[in-house]
Structures are given as structure tokens and as C-alpha cells.
Symmetry: C2
Subunit: 316 residues, 2 copies
């Protein structure tokens, strides 16, 4: 059932052979974006949907410290007039994300469906002889909890877009009263963070090589994703502070998804070396937010229980 | 956006590392099954949908002569009561196909959506030092056109199910008057062919190793898929006969999809050796249906133009 439509994207044979750098492990992940569940087409363009689907999958590679090798895009688009244009627009956004992430689209499939849905599978690897991919389960008491950047920008961007009635807000000047930048600039930056999130691929690789013990990407909210890391590792945590993106609230930083920053548990010495390496490579210095503790029941922010707030999938 | 739901299937980390046999190429494909487009839930059970999605993707590997390594399943299920059961039923069918095809499910994602849709990505490879994966484009004048078995059973099965008002027909005894087997047995066999098609993985590998020049799986109809092979190769064909599955019509063999038999263009000497090898391994001897000719405009069955009949995707 490989759709004819995909032939427009230069993919013809039933299966594609991928240039795979020998030696390292093959790392794979799949991620879906569904209209009305993960994305609202009055707030995001079809190209944004393609971008987000591909970047969401790439963020799963970033979260284990893998480098992308290739992506496959399965696209479901509603029938009727304009569906060909819609498919092309979504694929164009996916192609932009593919270029930004250095991950060529090597296969795909287009189907008709009742609503827009995109499932992206990404393939990646780690360098031969290097540390293996990092899971969620390796955090140890005494590890530092780092986050690669402030959170909540995507959620704040969605709030701003909703207040302005959708995507048209991009070209407007906002009327908010914020200190750090011109209101219109901030609105645009936050909307961009919502519509075009960026996977932290380089940070993930550097963290793995620096000795990170556990990692997860903030796709469903810092609080929920940190709980998941702690659950998998059988540990607790004490957070002193949460880095909040300018223009976002702390609740948005804790509970808003799709920031794609990485949460990293790493030994203190390795944390310093990792931070220096990030700065040397022109990346933001990761922010220390707390420590890992042995008692699994301790899940605190500033001494109070941190709830499992965040994007809870309705399925499963 | 890796759904929590998928954790029920033992898949927890953001990305999974796959045991990949070193040396051979990485071959990938993605295939989608959407309720109402590719499958009718009054004719097929949720488990059948999972089976068909995984087998459809495996058939793409069979069509290039690759051996499966792993699969990723992206599942969209309608919300509301029972959606968890629906997701589990679909995954159970995918797991059955996974076992039948020797292709472990290594990753997945569950999302809520308006309708049931399953996108399966499969990874495969070919043995180190062996012939590379076979595309559609290598057929040469004088090649024999083989098909691995008679076609049309899936389309005939769907016809039978429709006549009997759906999946319940499985347990009934049919009333048709057919010669070769008991009517009820034939109805059951054809319904099974529709609901549980099987990818010709072993035949694909044997054909590649035997020197097949071009291959394609019959997913959209023998006529349409043979035209595609001829288009890609820049050749024509003359068919003498078309193998029709017992209980199916020739139109169903030519235009019905999802039989997953392989169409193979191969030199005459290699064709004999390939056939003998199939028989030696307990497989059906491939059926010679015609030859490849140089004139691209010749696309004939018994001297008359063969139309591009078959399942035309509505998209693209």
C-alpha cells in the first residue's frame, strides 16, 4: 500500500536502502502528530505540522544521545479538494525540519484519512566505540539534574496564539507588557517556539559522551518527564528551581509540553565538563535545577511535592 | 509525544536500540492502514487490522528480497470508551504478524485520533556479501515474468464477506457451488486470505539470491503493479496467462490488491534454478506468466492491451 502520492517526493521502490554508518548501534523511534490532539490547524500551518512531527521524532533520538541517519514519514490527509496541496505542504515542513536536523527523509507513504495525521520514524546511531545510547533508567543518588534550557516557551506561545485568534498573530504586534524585549518580538519568539520547536541533538550527543547517566526530552512537561526519569531509575529528586522561558509562567515551564529541552542526570564532575563543552561549541550552558536522591518517594520542588503535571496522553 | 499507552507493550525509552546484523545494508519501508480507506471494520477485526498493517510493511521488504530486523508501530485509535481495548487488540494482531514474519516490534507510539489508523515502519537487511536489494527498475527484454502464486484470493474473500454481511461469515457454511473444495472451506480460505495476508519473505530472498532483476509485490493488483515494474524498468511485457486463485475471478486476480504475491523479472536460466530452490525449500513453484519485451508500449495479456486496473490510491 505504498501510496502513489509518495512518488512525488522521489521515493519509488517498495523499500529504500539507507546508507548506514557501520559499527554503531541502530537506534529507532516513532512519533505521531494528529490534528485536534497534538496540533490545532488554526494555530499551526500544515508545514508546521510536518516540522513538528519530524522534530518530535528527532527529539527522541536527542534524548538518548543519538545522531540521526534517516526518517520515514507516513502521512494521512483528509480527502476532497486540496488534499494534494495539503500533503505537499506538510511534506515541505517535514523537509525543512529534516534539513535543520541533518536527517534525510528516506521513505514515506501517503494515505487518505478523515483527519490529518503524521507518523515519523527516525533512525539514528552513535559513533563506533563511543558510549552507548542513554536511557531513562540510569540516574543515581547524588547526580545533578540539568536541563539544557528554560522551559515553557511552547506553551506560552500557544497561549499567545489563542489570545490572538490563531496563526495570523505572527505578523501582528502584541500588546503585552513584558520587560525583556519588545512585546511584538516576544510574541513572535514564543509563537515560533510553539510552531517550530527544535530538537537538542547536539546537546544530547555531548551529554552522552560526557557520561550522562539518564536522559529524557521535555515533550510532555518538565514535571511529568522528570517523574518518568525518576520512575525508570528508581530514585527521587529535589529541585531547587525551574528555569522558566521569558514570557512563560512557572506552570507553563512545569506542565507545558514540546519544549524539547533535555533533562539530564549526570555526576557532578561530568556535569561541569559537559557544561564547558556546550559553551565551547556555541551552545547554551545547561542549567542545574536539582539533585537526584535515593528515596524514591521524595519528588520535591523547593521542599514541596511536585505534582505529575503535564500533557497526559488520553490513550493508554 | 511517545504515548504512555505504548509502555503497556514494554517499550519505555524514547528510542530503542536495535540489534542490527553488521555488514549488510539497512533497508526500510513504511506502510499505513486506515479504517474506511484500506480496511472495513465490519469485515475485519481490530486484530486483523494490526496484522495487515504489519504484513503490508513486511511485504515491502519481501519485494526487495530483504530479511526483517524489526518493526515500529504508530497507532491512532478513536477516543471514548473501549479505546484502550481497541489499541490492545490491534497491537495483538500486529504481534501475531510480527511472530509469523520473524520481525520483532522494537518501538511504537499510541495516539488518540478520529479513526483507526496504523503506520508500520519495518527495518530489514540482506546478508553480507550477497546480492543487493532488488528494485523495480532492472527488468530486461527476454526476462521471464514470474508470480509466486495465484492472485485474487483477497479480493474474492472480501466479496464473500460482503455477501455474507461481514466478519461473522467466518463461522458460517457458505452456500456457493464451487468444484474444488467444500463451499464452506473455500469461503473460509478466501476470507482468511483477505484478513490475514502473508508476505512472501522467503520467496523474495530466494529470488534475489537467484539473480532476480526486478521485483514488486502485488499490493494494488497484478495488472497495476506489473505496469509499475515495467514503467520503472522502461520495458513492455507480453503475458500469456494470469494465475487465478480458486474461487476468484480473473478480474479479481488482475485488479484486486493485497495478495502480496511477488512479481519477478528474471533471466530464464535463473528462473529455473529459482523454481527448483523454492520447491526444495517447501515453497510453491513460481508460475511463469509471460516475458519482458523491449517495446515499452507493449503491455499485453493474450495479445490484447492490459489496462492499468487495480487499487488506485486516492491521494497523490
Amino acid at each position: 500500500m505504498l501510496g502513489n502520492g509518495i512518488e512525488a517526493f522521489g521515493l519509488r521502490d517498495d523499500a529504500a536502502a539507507v546508507e548506514f554508518p557501520g559499527g554503531g548501534p541502530l537506534v529507532v523511534s516513532v512519533d505521531s502528530v494528529v490534528e485536534g490532539v497534538h496540533v490545532d490547524l488554526s494555530m499551526s500551518s500544515p508545514a508546521d505540522v510536518g516540522w513538528k512531527a519530524l522534530m518530535g521524532a528527532l527529539s527522541d533520538l536527542a534524548a538518548v544521545g543519538a545522531t540521526p541517519v534517516g526518517a520515514l514519514v507516513a502521512l494521512c490527509v483528509p480527502g476532497g479538494s486540496g488534499h494534494g496541496d495539503l500533503a505537499l505542504a506538510v511534506m515541505a515542513g517535514a523537509a525543512e525540519a529534516s534539513a535543520a536536523g541533518g536527517c534525510p527523509v528516506v521513505g514515506g507513504d501517503v494515505s487518505e484519512a478523515g483527519e490529518l495525521a503524521v507518523a515519523v520514524t527516525v533512525l539514528g546511531t552513535t559513533e563506533t566505540g563511543g558510549p552507548p545510547p542513554v536511557g531513562r533508567a540510569g540516574a543515581r543518588p547524588g547526580d545533578v539534574v540539568l536541563v539544557t534550557g528554560p522551559c515553557g516557551a511552547s506553551a506560552a506561545g500557544l497561549r499567545g496564539l489563542r489570545a490572538r485568534g490563531g496563526a495570523a498573530a505572527e505578523d501582528e504586534q502584541g500588546e503585552e507588557d513584558q520587560e525583556e524585549e519588545e512585546p511584538g518580538e516576544q510574541v513572535g519568539r514564543l509563537a515560533e517556539a510553539h510552531r517550530r520547536p527544535v530538537a537538542r541533538l547536539r546537546e544530547g550527543v555531548l551529554a552522552r559522551v560526557a557520561g550522562a547517566r539518564a536522559m529524557i526530552d521535555v515533550s510532555d512537561g518538565l514535571a511529568l518527564d522528570l517523574h518518568r526519569l525518576a520512575d525508570a531509575s528508581g530514585v527521587g529528586f529535589r529541585l531547587e528551581s525551574v528555569p522558566v522561558a521569558p514570557g512563560a509562567t512557572e506552570d507553563e515551564a512545569l506542565g507545558g509540553g514540546e519544549d524539547y529541552e533535555l533533562l539530564i542526570a549526570i555526576g557532578r564532575g561530568d556535569a561541569h565538563a559537559f557544561g564547558d563543552r556546550c559553551v565551547a561549541e556555541g551552545l547554551r550552558r545547561p542549567i542545574e535545577t536539582g539533585i537526584v536522591v535515593e528515596d524514591e518517594s521524595v519528588r520535591n520542588l523547593r521542599g514541596r511535592r511536585l505534582e505529575r503535571m503535564g500533557w497526559q496522553h488520553r490513550v493508554g
